[in-house]
Subunit: 361 residues, 4 copies
Amino acid sequence: MPIPKTMRAAVLYGEGDMRLVDDYPVPEPGPGEVLIKVAACAICGSDPKILAHGWPNHPPYGKFIFGHEYTGTVAALGPGVTELAVGDPIAVEPHKGCGVCANCRDGLYTTCLNYGQADKGHRHYGFSTNGGYAEYACNHVNSVYKVPAGMPLDQATLITTAATSLYGIRRIGGIRTGETVVVSGPGPIGLMAVTMARLLGAGTIILTGTRSERLALGLDLGADVLLNTREENVVERVFGLTGGVGASAVLECAGTSQAAADAVEMAKKNGRVALIAMYKEPAPLNVNKIVQWNITVAGSKAEGERSLAQALALLGRTIGSTNRVNLSPLITHCFSLDDIHAAFETAEKRLGGAVKVVVKP
Amino acid sequence: MPIPKTMRAAVLYGEGDMRLVDDYPVPEPGPGEVLIKVAACAICGSDPKILAHGWPNHPPYGKFIFGHEYTGTVAALGPGVTELAVGDPIAVEPHKGCGVCANCRDGLYTTCLNYGQADKGHRHYGFSTNGGYAEYACNHVNSVYKVPAGMPLDQATLITTAATSLYGIRRIGGIRTGETVVVSGPGPIGLMAVTMARLLGAGTIILTGTRSERLALGLDLGADVLLNTREENVVERVFGLTGGVGASAVLECAGTSQAAADAVEMAKKNGRVALIAMYKEPAPLNVNKIVQWNITVAGSKAEGERSLAQALALLGRTIGSTNRVNLSPLITHCFSLDDIHAAFETAEKRLGGAVKVVVKP
Amino acid sequence: MPIPKTMRAAVLYGEGDMRLVDDYPVPEPGPGEVLIKVAACAICGSDPKILAHGWPNHPPYGKFIFGHEYTGTVAALGPGVTELAVGDPIAVEPHKGCGVCANCRDGLYTTCLNYGQADKGHRHYGFSTNGGYAEYACNHVNSVYKVPAGMPLDQATLITTAATSLYGIRRIGGIRTGETVVVSGPGPIGLMAVTMARLLGAGTIILTGTRSERLALGLDLGADVLLNTREENVVERVFGLTGGVGASAVLECAGTSQAAADAVEMAKKNGRVALIAMYKEPAPLNVNKIVQWNITVAGSKAEGERSLAQALALLGRTIGSTNRVNLSPLITHCFSLDDIHAAFETAEKRLGGAVKVVVKP
Amino acid sequence: MPIPKTMRAAVLYGEGDMRLVDDYPVPEPGPGEVLIKVAACAICGSDPKILAHGWPNHPPYGKFIFGHEYTGTVAALGPGVTELAVGDPIAVEPHKGCGVCANCRDGLYTTCLNYGQADKGHRHYGFSTNGGYAEYACNHVNSVYKVPAGMPLDQATLITTAATSLYGIRRIGGIRTGETVVVSGPGPIGLMAVTMARLLGAGTIILTGTRSERLALGLDLGADVLLNTREENVVERVFGLTGGVGASAVLECAGTSQAAADAVEMAKKNGRVALIAMYKEPAPLNVNKIVQWNITVAGSKAEGERSLAQALALLGRTIGSTNRVNLSPLITHCFSLDDIHAAFETAEKRLGGAVKVVVKP
């Protein structure tokens, strides 16, 4: 299929000013890059913030296409690309490191020391580099992963979220076989954390949050116990459910200071707490308990260390299968790119119980 | 040498009421225990608190002998003990786990789930069980370590402190070869953290604190840079000294909320923070930085996982040698057991620049 | 229910001489021990060897009851036991460490330095201490695990095997999400390795072996590809199936020199090989490949580091459930204790396609 | 200083045919590369093999400059290089990964899946790409490390060797504080392994080998015990020296099948063995001991995971200092590039007790 010169795209022209245009130039893949025909792009919790306020080092307004949870097919290969073929179904990850700094060379590219410096080779697609709310996107091969056969491309937009949850789990040394896991916050990251913990061998999984309909989604994904933080003292309940011992692992995906502080309070002796959210202010953590109970707290930056590859390998076996986890209930809404404003309103206001909202060009 | 029936001991009779007695019964070692002829017992920062307020599950007032950083020689063996011989020079660790709970069986006896339950086999010598401010003490072999030849027994009282610092280092995955390490707080634990970090292959070591004479002690132990937190913005200085990158590892030994918060602020991307102190209140940690910079914060409970054995193996090569670290400057004062009240006053008020004060029966 | 003075038991009287007796004294639980009313005891691959040749430090012939994969209910508690209650359903592990040596104190009790020394507290139930081919057995609480509700006690005899496979997986750092795993040898340990790898998040699982009916069992437990080592070059096939890269993890459960050598040959760069079998002679491993490909080979001693607890927590959720793994096909035969000789013959000769043979007193 | 158009270089024209030429074109640094004015290049044990037989994917005979342990100063910067400045003293590592394959992205570039494929960005300087037996060399910045002030550039040629030893240590989880370490093989890698183990906190270090003068060098670098494998049963001696327990870590640097097999035999329960050498044939490892004793054997590929940076950070503090390790005795011979044939003869035949022979253009 011939590649057009221009494409339809949602372009940011200023704070809160997103416009649909028809004549955005289709990008041309440079060395090591591929052109992607976008199939779907999911709205992330950070997208409304980018719409409202931009992002450090973002492309100039009037040129800035955001969106970073996209899938599609390879439309063209830049010079030197041998890892993929035209037509391959793919998912992307937002971060592509510089490849030269100490962190990138250690495999820790989501904490690249040259963040935002395009001339050093760093890319943050949908943030400091153009992303996926458009008919085409252009990514370095290091940020592109082949989607396994049988995984629908709209469901595959969840892979970025799954990989973020997975990286949080990896940051605390993985799930230990059969251990009790608390997931706080039943947003997409929390729900995927439940999913991953279940598939990786957790024992009892306790999901906490404030919205009962969101919590209920967790049951099908593998949660055993739901606790509503508005209705119960969740710290006490966790101790009650664990014979007074506390949770072995806590995956904090709620993003409030209270939730972060509670995560430490719920942990057992030698427990591990992963912080997998954004926080507006410092959280008053019980450092004395952290010491006396020999607790580890690990922050987790995005979908690091090729967690997308791992998530695809695991969920690629799963999606669509009858006897494992079905992720489709998480994608509650689907909009055309033409209706992206409505899509954003649905996602932000959680209209109609929205969990994950997908935009299709 | 015959073992007397009674001994001289400092006994707690109530809050703040420590009395020297001459007729305390010499304990008799039970199965798996050894009787120790105490050579020296160092005053720990927690001892004045025990003197003032007791400790949960402490032996009854009138019977309670505290002190937990002691060394001596084996005076007698209880039934079944084959690991040691009478006359062996030894150091002790305060914690002896129950040996049955999940944590003990995993080797994590400092977080024994049966803490304070003597009937389950748990011991916390000098806290919930009698300790070392006496002529004799009685310890389970699991809490006794042979002191290498050539290490003076008064210096060996520092091993408990060394092991506490070492365990903090272990809890963040050890010192990585050549990395920049910040140690905050030049108390005994901080100074031993400097010592251990130097012996374990650190690169630049930065020691921070408020007292310049204490900081100065760090230089001989291996610190490269001293920063006075009263005179400089230590977080800024750490970034200045590391080319804007931050510290690879921070060993927080100061025990204030500010120090804990600063420890996170000093850390580089993917940096690790060990908390090796006691804190009176929650600390406002920058959880967003912890996430965005992929930072790990680990609390460290006492001298866990047989860190005493490791510290003895390392420092046993060192103490007294001319070309490695000399620990003797840390033992600034030595008192007879008869003068234990003066010893405590010296330690608490840091009279005469006191760092470590040792009591000898 | 009153506990009788004597019991029916299969007693070893000499090499190859196992006799059923009716008047074996029921053991009395000492401090920290529990008396178990045995429900079932599975025959392990090492049992026929014990029957034929004894075991180092075994109890004297005429007194020696072997069998180590047993389950039952708690019949009585020894002094000081609070961890369990009479009537609790339980499974056991064979190893109970001395609790004093360096390895035990580090949690590594299956490599206790006081192996076989009963006076130091070491126990190897069914080997150097009496075991489970009897109506009653007596175990230290450290070797007893509560069976989750709903798990039949005959199926629970598989937990020792499951834990052995799991420990092998743990020894190579666990299963990494979605990775390709080869399991060589479809005996009980290999089949449980397939099961565990599947439940712990493996990607493609390749099972290799010589008997097609055994291999076929692996399919239901989670294997994706079966390779018959008699019919194909399995090393080549593994490379073919992985795009020329090799297997990420190899779990060697076959126990031949060739299988051990092949395990290294199958591994990819940075791959890990777990050895989870017994070998009669040294294996010619390609050490140059181990170096040039940065490979790790880890031996795995028994069901170490409380792997039984982990296996029970995971499989306790699973057995009997309709939508996860069903282990019951592995228990192919069940005999009364009276028919233990027939049970052994069935197990040894694999009569009727025997996989796991269970004996019930 | 102006950069000439041509340079003096030792060029391989065929097997065993190394010629000095004066008119080799000085390379021009491309994007991300730097031109290096070579100060010194040490002869590695693999160099005589390259001289004799070439190397897979080597540059064409008549153009091929080898040598990979070189240091120098930055002479010019290619486009986009901001990490270094002209005049910086530097050391290099031979491996530069493709930056795209799974291994490189995980930080494991010494096992790059695109080995030898220059078009994919892989470089193996002195092997599949030109190296350092010349007046100038050209390296990608990812393979160049700044030498700390005060470290002489001829001594800094040892950094590649040091990093290889260090990586072996890292591959078995580092040196554990105070543990007993055996180093087998007192060649440059073995001697640097002794050095690193000592600086990283080892306890007793036992060095084994066949040449007493080589062994003696180990004493100054930190070895405590020397064992001559021709004169004693080293396995027995290691057990004798460790109270019958065995060595905690064995660093196998001798490169014979016997040494690899012995390394396993020397290890204690739960011990770790690093293989850091090249082997001509499979080694008969005692796999049953590996299992029963829960042993880990890890191969170590070159100076991986930025071990050069770590080694420089550690040894940069050390070389030239009076109270730590002095490496200069290891550099026994120094030749001009004009005398490279004599240098090779000295290195190969170990004339005059040669350990490390350095060539200076």
